[in-house]
Amino acid sequence: MFLIASVTFFLMKLMPGTPLNNQAKLTASQIHTIYQQYGLDKPLWQQYVTYIVNAVQGNFGTSFQFSNQAVSYLIGSRIGPSAIIGAQGMILGVILGICTGSLSAIRKNTWVDGTANIISILGLSIPSFVFAILLQYYFGLKLQLFPVAGWGGFASTILPTIALAASPFATTSRFVRTEMVDVMGSDYIELARAKGLSRFGIVFHHALRNSLIPLVTVIGPLAVGIMTGSMVVENIFSIPGIGEQFVKSILVNDYPTIMGVTLLYSGLLCLVLLITDIVYGIIDPRIRLSGKGE
């Protein structure tokens, strides 16, 4: 995290741009006072130290774009909607992905498999903004099934959730399929068949569990996918979320916010990876017990 903070800090400093919106019309001393306000007049290393020290205390400075608005407050007020559609998208995508993935593995080389495959490849092949726009246009405007955009109420989360779910769905489905095909060919499935278990019993008691455990490892990449997707989806559906904020900050060079969000994303990702590790240890007995045994 510290490294990330440092890297982003110096990257930011490489870029031109200031908190000033109409720099053009100001005198040098006015600019100077404004710089002072943001602590931009001090030498770089001092700014850096201050930043890191503050960041550790959860203070990421003040936004350039929103005057007097603490970046941490901004993030805090934006995180809710992102979390909601992110979580919904993730859950929807993963669950659907698991279903189609295992279905196509069980029905390997049949039309079910083929269809599921094509759908999941499509999920990987259509840029999320195209997908979101199509959803909005057809389901929001033409069919009037859901709100076109905006935030408020469950109905308004449906289209963004679907749009976000596409990528985790595709990834999960393909991952689960591969895993499941692998597992279905393994010796212990053969043994389960030899025990006289039904197809259903084999899939539920043996195959599913074993192919889902490794799924934990792709949660990190999925989370990244959700973050990336949210930038696009929130923008298109006008959702007051972090991703939307991030894109805006990029376009107006609001460095404190960019840095804050970057750190947030990195932190979240680290957290996800950490949790992944822990969860993996919990659900995979091989790791759980060997860890304890030592």
Binding site: L3, M15, L124, S125, P127, M231, I250, L251, L269
Partner: protein
């Protein structure tokens, strides 16, 4: 229970040992691993068709400087014309579109000469969308190819070194990768592109930086496996140097992993470029890429849907084809699937 069949007189003559025990002969024609894989790929119809689709698309794209020489020649008088294919009178291909609730022949409305037509319509500057898509496909493919190439150079080298050296070197190199991966790459890319804004090269670099860790990890995992393979040990006991081992033993055996990963990386890079275009930090105008074309198109999707649909369809086809081909290659290279 007598013999039912008369056996010939000499049936029980022993056969000479020498002429019959020449058993070490191999009848089957000699086939290399790659030939085998190629054979299996051919059996996989979807992958094979995908491959041809890609080849055809690439052919079209890379000949576009000749076949479509003017992707950037603007003629604002012909802006936003819908597709028109002469002789075809189907809405959507006859140069008409709905404007203000009525179907209008845009070619007439804009005084376009009778002889002039744009098969895929025009964009906001009156540039031929068809030419721009060809050109954009070329740029997108180039971005994909070069990003992947850089990615290959860094990733494969890094992976091999990390796995081969092992120990502390490996540990440090792995930590670096882990750190790289715990930063959301998209953020890094965006930051990078903000700093080195502009042309194709920064985008290629940014994408390569984004992707190389995957390649490095795959290569490392595979190299670790190969490293303990007995033929590598054999080379070591024969006194082969590390460099030669890498070239002679590791690389050829890594090739399938690398090829497969490449097939995934190229579309990923193309895809990423599209995403960057959407965020607004994509490639510089007037150069077109599929991403910028789609992005330009999506703005007017409500009334000029063709401007998004066509490049989006091309992109989707490329993506799908690459993915299916990659899947096919994975199966083809995997000896486990050599039998059904």
């Amino acid at each position: 229970m007598d013999e039912k069949i008369k056996l010939p007189e000499d049936a029980f003559q022993p056969v000479g040992k020498d002429d019959k025990l020449d058993d070490e002969k191999i009848a089957a024609p000699s086939r290399t691993f790659l030939q085998d894989a190629w054979h299996r790929l051919k059996e996989n119809k979807a992958a094979f068709i995908s491959m041809w689709i890609l080849i055809i698309i690439a052919l079209f794209a890379f000949t576009s400087p000749i076949t479509a020489p003017n992707p950037n020649s603007a003629n604002p008088d012909y802006a936003n014309l819908p597709p028109k294919i002469p002789g075809v009178n189907i809405n959507g291909f006859n140069g008409t579109s709905i404007q203000g609730g009525q179907r209008v022949d845009q070619y007439k409305a804009n005084n376009v000469p009778e002889s002039k037509h744009f098969i895929l319509g025009t964009d906001y500057l009156g540039r031929s969308l068809g030419q721009r898509i060809l050109h954009g496909t070329m740029i997108s493919l180039l971005i994909g190819l070069f990003a992947t190439l850089i990615d290959l150079l860094i990733g494969v080298g890094y992976g091999i070194i990390s796995a081969w050296k092992g120990g502390v070197v490996d540990l440090v190199m792995q930590r670096i990768i882990e750190i790289m991966q715990s930063i959301p790459n998209i953020v890094i890319m965006v930051l990078l592109l903000l700093v080195i804004k502009g042309g194709i090269l920064p985008i290629i670099l940014a994408i390569a930086i984004n992707e190389w860790t995957t390649m490095a990890r795959l290569t490392r995992a595979q190299t670790l496996q190969l490293k303990s393979q007995e033929y590598v040990l054999a080379a070591q006991t024969l006194g082969e140097s590390s460099g030669k081992i890498a070239m002679k033993h590791l690389l050829p055996n890594l090739s399938s992993v690398i090829i497969i990963q490449t097939m995934f990386t190229i579309p990923a890079a193309i895809f990423f470029e599209a995403f960057l275009s959407y965020i607004g930090i994509g490639i510089q105008a007037p150069i077109a890429s599929l991403g910028t074309l789609i992005n330009d198109g999506q703005r007017n999707f409500q009334f000029l849907p063709f401007q998004m649909w066509y490049p989006a369809i091309v992109l989707a086809i490329i993506m799908i084809a690459f993915n299916i081909l990659a899947d096919g290659l994975r199966d083809a290279f995997d000896p486990r699937t050599s039998r059904h």
